[in-house]
Symmetry: C2
Subunit: 307 residues, 2 copies
Amino acid sequence: MTDIDILVSEVGPRDGLQSIDAILPTAVKNAWIKAQAAAGFREIEVGSFVPPSVLPQMADTADVVRAALELPGLDVAVLVPNLRGAQDAIESGAHKISIPFSVSETHSLKNVRRNHEQMFAEVSKISELVAQQPQPPHFEAGLSTAFGCTIEGPVSEDLVVASAERLMQCGVAEVGLSDTTGYANPAQVTRLVRKVQAAVGKENINGVHLHNTRGLGLANVLAAIEEGITTVDSSLGGIGGCPFAPGASGNIVTEDLVFMLEAMGLRTGIDIDKLLAVRNILSTALPDEPLYGFIPDAGVPKGFQEQ
Amino acid sequence: MTDIDILVSEVGPRDGLQSIDAILPTAVKNAWIKAQAAAGFREIEVGSFVPPSVLPQMADTADVVRAALELPGLDVAVLVPNLRGAQDAIESGAHKISIPFSVSETHSLKNVRRNHEQMFAEVSKISELVAQQPQPPHFEAGLSTAFGCTIEGPVSEDLVVASAERLMQCGVAEVGLSDTTGYANPAQVTRLVRKVQAAVGKENINGVHLHNTRGLGLANVLAAIEEGITTVDSSLGGIGGCPFAPGASGNIVTEDLVFMLEAMGLRTGIDIDKLLAVRNILSTALPDEPLYGFIPDAGVPKGFQEQ
């Protein structure tokens, strides 16, 4: 990352599409990912290895990974809920594998039907499998519901920190903080990033996955990058959220995020005009899905220049 | 301000209504202002003293001020474009008078038909008039288009600073920074607040008026309050903007702003439930006007408590 300051990690093909009933054809997914890579994206989460019975929208993830691996300079990321998914992910050749760990145990039981100890055991098994690979993928854990849970309410910050430490002990390469429910506020982001950095080391927490459910998405990003976070997830058109967290919706809009970062003088490597053009692929394929964002409507300021 | 940390200054009755064609009846304006004061607001910009031929929506400002002056603990603010307006404002008994000064001279000519030297002369005359009053109102100048102009494009930061210094010399009690066009980004807010603080003294710049045209409104607020800004303008339902800046729209939504601040542990003195109820007054009176905001739809997080 010498030529960019912040890595914007596009999660639309996974986080966005999994919350939409319509199943996007594989060819459209591939065209989307290809166009966004061509706009300068270095990392895209292209799908998740979950049973097709749970999320039929993700049934073609192996095919999508295969196509994405052909794109030069792109890190191909996938999400897995368990060891079985990780086996598929490794077989697919994906560069990065993420597993969500719900700090709210209630949410964990509801989301993946596992309590914390079961999740730690699962993560350890995946770490072992990853370590056995000749070319091990990057394996990270996302601390979901880290900022609060729609079922439990407030989530203990001590528990977030303890979970991060335990996940590192279970062998993940990195942990991230996820505002699954859109509950986070900037002061909390600052505090929690600092606490987790202090616990696991700054180099072992690089990314945040924040939502815009309550309109604070970009303010929360600002708080995170001020603490040294360098990877920020977002979704084209803001599609998606977590379908298992009732009332939660609204990812951060990639277009607005890239604009904010570039306007601040932070290099993303992304061409905003090319990025905005990618929306056409989605709006054509999913005419009934609303696409969000301010920059697509307002345009960039007069005289605006990318870094 | 010993019992609150941030003063949220509601500008909807002025900035919001002036960009809406419909003319809100005086009684509805009064009910709105009364309800919002009862929700804990300490300052409301209730109107502007401009010729009714230009903004008929503001023709009843003197009556609205009179009613608002009855509300205990409320600072009644008004906007004036010139000396004539300031005379009316003083006569009305308003506590605070603001004059916008467009750092973009092109915008100034278009907005109030005066160049910079003419504006400085006007501000000086108003300052003299204010000083002659037995109970002088608080007179401040807002540096509009400080973050860029839809006509000129980028605006020189040196010119913003020089304008702030000159306005202080012309006798204003305070200057503020206004992102009239929605061009600001957080890095620019940080930089410009610091520069103006250094030039005129921290105590002479307390407020910012930021827009949400490009979705960065709350991120920009965060940047401002991190630099010690203690007064933030916003508009109920996000209505309004500047009707003279083409393409600019979208004030910061008061409801979302108050939520962010309270969630961060910053006291506003405002009751969010009472604030949300005020929306009914507007939506009933202006059924065709869209009201914006995330918190009204998403609700506050489970277990959320105000400070």
